[in-house]
């Protein structure tokens, strides 16, 4: 399925199940997402993690709502299954979508301005450097006997300075290589957006609507 449509689909469904309280639809969504993950050969350890963590959080939330609130059993089941809907649908999306392909699709199919698409990509390629910079800043502080925590302003200060430097350099590099904001572009790789994608997208949405509004518990 086309990455942009896939993203739109899971976001819309997640938004909708947050408002409507029908646990049977939640269960169907969980089963479908699970099947999709199994078909795409998601590793077992990952699946296990995707089950244990929400199991703990959903149980803790339900327990807390029972102790400190006055929710009906129906509502508790809805909340419990809702957590799994988020996690399984999200798992299906992140484990079957490559960030690079998603960005390309957003630019070509969803008409995201190319300065955003390439800006994101340029920055995302710095990920290892950013992680290394954080360790460097911390190590440098340690040499002076200073420990930097998550709540130390100095840590953020130094990383932001580095970020400003890099973004200046990257932007200059892109401009000097002929990148012009807003100029028309050609694409060496095109992300297909075919009728089948639209059918899947609309079909799934319609099915969810039917499930949510025909009076299921």
């Amino acid at each position: 399925m086309n990455p942009s449509l896939k993203l739109a689909l899971i976001t819309l469904i997640a938004l909708e199940v947050s408002f409507v309280q029908v646990w049977t639809v939640n269960v169907v969504l969980i089963v479908v997402s699970l099947l999709l993950m199994l078909i795409n050969r998601v590793p077992w350890r990952r699946l296990l993690l995707l089950t244990i963590v929400p199991l703990f959080f959903a149980s803790a939330l339900v327990w807390s709502l029972m102790l400190r609130g006055d929710a009906s059993t129906h509502f508790l089941i809805v909340i419990f299954t809702r957590m799994f809907v988020y996690v399984y649908m999200g798992g299906w999306f992140t484990l079957t979508t490559k960030p690079l392909w998603l960005t390309r699709s957003l630019e070509q199919n969803a008409k995201l301005p190319s300065k955003f698409a390439y800006g994101f990509l340029a920055a995302f390629n710095l990920m290892p450097k950013i992680q290394a910079e954080v360790s460097t800043v911390r190590a440098a502080a340690l040499m002076r006997g200073e420990v930097l925590h998550v709540w130390s302003p100095r840590l953020y200060f130094k990383v932001i300075l580095a970020a400003m430097n890099w973004s200046d350099q990257l932007a200059a590099a892109m401009t000097s290589h002929g990148f012009v904001e807003g100029a028309p572009r050609t694409h060496s790789l095109t992300v297909p957006l075919v009728a089948r994608d639209w059918w899947l997208f609309c079909g799934s949405l319609v099915l969810v609507q039917v499930g949510l509004f025909i009076g299921l518990p």
Binding site: L15, W63, G69, F120, Y156, F157, A171
Partner: protein, 184 residues
């Protein structure tokens, strides 16, 4: 009003990645804290206590970049990074990211993107707390809690957002101003 250029886009993304790495790194802390509080039915408190760290990307990006939309974009991208690094909450991370970002953006909107001081931060803290809390009333069923407990959750969240999104952001901003990177 300033418009987005490639340099600003790269900068907001790098800040978001940095924050995303932090969001992701405090994941285990959250789990442990939640586990410790869970037996007493206090698990949501773990969420409230740490929420300030999760919403920090918004005000930080808003302060450093000062273009309309910076706070929302910063927080959303932070959520994207967290999602692809292996955070498990999937689509709901993105929705929360947009809402948290927009919550802090509201603070900047109310001051017209002109003032960058305590007042804006206080506004931003308040709007972030209200927007995200409204979302949790729906998403996590907070609406079913008894009122006193609900008020406790709200106050803890407000405090957490103020400490991280407000005080810490202001301290970082002060350092940047002293280094003549940002205007006061």
């Amino acid at each position: 009003m300033k418009r987005w250029h490639i340099r600003d886009i790269i900068l907001v993304t790098i800040i978001a990645i940095f924050m995303g790495v932090i969001f992701w790194a405090i994941g285990p802390v959250y789990t442990i804290l939640a586990a410790a509080l869970a037996p007493f039915g206090l698990q949501p408190l773990a969420n409230e206590l740490l929420l300030g760290i999760w919403v920090m990307a918004g005000p930080l990006a808003g302060f450093v970049i000062r273009i309309p939309g910076a706070a929302t974009l910063g927080e959303l991208l932070g959520a994207v990074v967290e999602m692809f690094l292996g955070g498990i909450w999937g689509a709901s991370t993105l929705i929360s990211g947009v809402l948290q970002g927009f919550g802090s953006e509201l603070g900047f909107i109310f001051t017209g993107y002109k003032r960058y001081g305590w007042f804006t931060l206080a506004m931003s803290t308040l709007t972030t707390t209200i927007v995200t809390f409204a979302w949790d009333l729906i998403r996590n069923g907070y609406a079913a809690y008894h009122l006193p407990f609900l008020l406790l959750l709200f106050c803890v969240r407000l405090l957490s957002v103020f400490v991280f999104g407000g005080v810490l952001t202001k301290l970082i901003n002060n350092l940047l101003v002293r280094a003549h990177v940002l205007k006061d």
